[in-house]
Amino acid sequence: MEIDPFIFRLSIFILSIFIGYYVVWSVTPSLHTPLMSVTNAISSVIIVGAIIAGLAGSTANVFTISNILGFLAISLAAINIFGGFLVTQRMLQMYKKKKKDK
């Protein structure tokens, strides 16, 4: 009997939780705020679903509810992606400046 592809995805999921567990414990406590903002940014990779939803359908009508929700989701996720990565960058930059000062 063939293994359902779902099982493979589940395996990836479970193993990733363990990776996350070990990687996050190694994050230094002083960087916990940037950790939150960067996890925020990467979880917005949900935008791939939004793009598929936005591009789906026929050329005749691009404004089905499904498309419009896709467009809105794209905007929301994009705010998060740009906002999240840039604000993380801004914070991490502050941790660098001091290093040079000394």
Partner: protein, 464 residues
């Protein structure tokens, strides 16, 4: 682009996201980590465009919405003051939640686009995954909105509780399971809408009973939820990048919640069930009488510090509120010029989110090797001459060690009372967020400085 090839690219971007978090293990590697994160995102988005291939005329709208969102995000990122990070992160969580809901609805209405079957006969597994993604997303959204309003001060930070609250929440959670079952067996969209509505309600009800001081736990928890929502959608879309990221973010938020709970010596459920401070307050007000405190002015404080050889600074949420971090840094610079050793002690739950104080000090150009965590510095208080407590309260309360009756009993605290003298910058004698009186105020060697944290710090600098 073939499905296999794009799956490999999604895997690559998942790996890059892991490296992004890995980079945060030290400030030196963190910027490279952030770059990996950005790269992973660019790959994921590009691959998605290429794999859809035949573009409908929707493409132009996709690009417009992408651009508009991106500009708004970039604008916020550059404008936001560092003291507002907790609100920002809560706001961002709500967006992840809402977009998860939108994507789930979109997939439900147009399953062909996602290879999930046709409307009315969507694959069972996909339906379950979709329901999980939508429900968790909706909870994340409404919960984060409440957290945002509380942090922003639009909504009172005090816990809102009512009779039967937990019973109602439990009932709604059961309703979600029942609705998912009904949805799967009937494929009727009505159940899907009710499911989402109930989830929004749960998120709302879950966060209103939680008080302001517990926000670090709440934010971490919502961070975790946003991850699980993304993972749920990842299973629906059969997308490796989303599944990996969802798992990473989910466990990251869970670990942060755990660290925050440990910092307060409270169980996760105790925080979630809420109402901290509300029930205990009535008990502690009973035996409260006016006790004498020593209060001083900026000159007294400057005198004490000038004659010290080592000073430990204990910042808290009050410093963020007063925006006193820059003034503080100037004061420390003056102290250092007088050959006084200065270090900073940070309690895990200081501020409104994990690492909040560290970011503020970094913003004020405090070198990160002068900033210490509780375990690293707690033994140094004995040898320090002055502890300068600015905007912190509960995290220094010795009652946590001595008074088993105290609601904060058992919480790890900074041993400020062991210092030769303690300077306490505070606006009034009012108790902290836990609603407990701080024994430290009445100690022989404590000098209270009643003023705005920023003004007081500036005056002390002048006095030096």
């Amino acid at each position: 682009m073939s499905a296999n090839l794009s799956a490999i690219f999604y895997l690559i971007s998942g790996v890059l996201f892991i490296l992004a978090l890995r980079g945060l293990s030290s400030p030196e590697t963190s910027r490279q980590g952030n770059f990996f994160g950005i790269l992973g995102m660019v790959i994921a988005i590009t691959v998605t465009f290429l794999s859809v291939g035949s573009f409908s005329s929707g493409l132009i709208y996709v690009l417009i919405f992408l651009l508009v969102g991106g500009l708004i995000g970039a604008f916020i990122a550059y404008k936001i003051p560092m003291t507002a990070m907790p609100e920002l992160v809560a706001g961002f969580h709500s967006l992840v939640g809402l977009s998860a809901v939108f994507v789930a609805i979109s997939a439900f209405l147009n399953p062909e686009a996602f290879n999930l079957g046709s409307p009315g006969s969507i694959k069972l597994a996909s339906l379950i995954e979709m329901s999980i993604g939508a429900a968790v997303g909706a909870i994340t959204f409404s919960g984060s909105i409440i957290a945002f309003l509380k942090l922003q001060g639009i909504m009172s930070g005090s816990p809102i509780t009512f009779k039967g609250q937990h019973f109602l929440n439990a009932l709604l959670l059961i309703a979600i399971l029942v609705l998912t079952y009904l949805l799967c067996s009937s494929q009727s969209s009505n159940f899907f809408w009710i499911l989402i509505a109930v989830s929004f309600l749960i998120g709302f009800l879950l966060i209103i009973p939680i008080g302001g001081a517990d926000m670090p736990v709440v934010i971490s928890m919502l961070n975790s939820y946003s991850g699980w929502a993304a993972a749920g959608i990842g299973f629906t879309l059969e997308n490796t990048a989303l599944i990996i990221t969802g798992a990473l973010v989910g466990s990251s938020g869970a670990i942060l919640s755990y660290i925050m709970c440990k910092g307060m010596n409270r169980s996760f459920f105790n925080v979630i069930l809420g109402g901290f401070g509300a029930s205990e307050q009535s008990a502690s007000t009973g035996n409260k009488e006016q006790r004498p405190v020593k209060s001083g002015n900026a000159e007294d404080a400057a005198f004490l510090m000038k004659n010290a050889s080592s000073v430990i600074i204990v910042p808290g949420y009050g410093m963020a509120v007063a925006q006193a971090q820059h003034a503080l840094r100037e004061m420390v610079d003056t102290l250092k010029k007088n050959d006084i050793k200065v270090s900073y002690a940070i309690h895990p739950v200081a501020g409104r989110m994990p690492g909040h104080m560290n970011v503020l000090l970094a913003e004020a150009n405090v070198p990160y090797d002068e900033v210490f965590e509780l375990e690293e510095i707690n033994n140094d208080f004995v040898n320090a001459d002055v502890a300068f407590v600015i905007g912190a309260n509960d995290v220094t309360n010795p009652a946590a060690k001595t008074d088993p009756q105290s609601p904060i009993y058992g919480m790890p605290i900074l041993d400020v009372e062991k210092c030769k003298s303690v300077l306490f910058v505070k606006r009034s004698l009012s108790p902290g967020y836990a609603g407990v009186d701080n024994e430290l105020f009445y100690k022989e060697n404590t000098l209270m400085l009643f003023a705005d944290a920023k003004k007081m710090t500036e005056e002390i600098t002048k006095g030096l």
